[in-house]
């Protein structure tokens, strides 16, 4: 029987893969997608636990996470376009203006 543990482990694996992507990739859009992965894995946790505890609150939270993700997508992608317009690139190696 598949229990809540399975879902949680799956979620942890996906989250780790997302982290791995964020840390290794240089393309800002791919990094962005990896962040979406991480968010989704957390959503899965929420829904799995929501079922396990027979409570609706987790799912409502997922709803809000999605809202935030949507907003983030809109703003993040706009940022990327603005950046691309200045630098002709969205490679994070070019994101080095924070230096000193």
């Amino acid at each position: 029987m598949i229990g809540v543990y399975h879902y949680l482990i799956l979620s942890a694996i996906i989250f780790s893969i997302g982290t791995f992507g964020v840390l290794t990739r240089k393309n800002a859009i791919v990094i962005f997608m990896c962040i979406e992965l991480m968010l989704n894995s957390v959503n899965l946790t929420f829904i799995a636990l929501s079922r396990h505890l027979q409570n609706m609150d987790g799912q409502i939270f997922v709803f809000f996470v999605m809202t935030v993700a949507a907003a983030e997508a809109a703003v993040g992608l706009a940022l990327m376009i603005a950046f691309y317009r200045n630098r002709e690139s969205i490679d994070t190696d070019d994101f080095n203006m924070l230096k000193w």
Binding site: M1, Y5, Y7, C34, L37, S50, N55, T67, A70, A78
Partner: protein
Amino acid sequence: MLSILFYLFATVAIFSAFYVTKARSPVNSALCLVTTFICFAVLYIMLDAPFMAAIQIMVYAGAIMVLIIFVIMLLNLGTAIKKRYTHALVWGGGVSVLMLFITNVFIRRGEMSGKVGDVTTQTIHNYGHTELIGKAMFTEFLLPFEIASILLLVAIVGAVILSKREV
């Protein structure tokens, strides 16, 4: 039967997720991400959350992914040059594995207990998942819901301002 389904979709989700991070072309990454989202939607259905599955498909696989692919196409991004070995790869891999290990320990050690609600499988079947969500959303969580709408408004304005050439 359900176990087989779970393992199947879980495996697909893991592999496609991994491929998101590995694909050299962002378009490939995006397509794999869609696959992962769809697998998740199936898992949501298996967790008696059909409404969540629906909006997973609509919002993530539909809206967000379309947006991403638009941007990829708009910026005309090429494929990344493959690098065999980088510091980032080793560090990133190490940290991720460590994280997975820690999370595993936590999950195995932890107790999945808490305040148990009254939303049993039976209730969901009786009332319907969408109705339950709607009830919760527009009664108990009305204020966060409204705030979320403001957030979206702000995001819209922000996106417009940022992508305008001249403000």
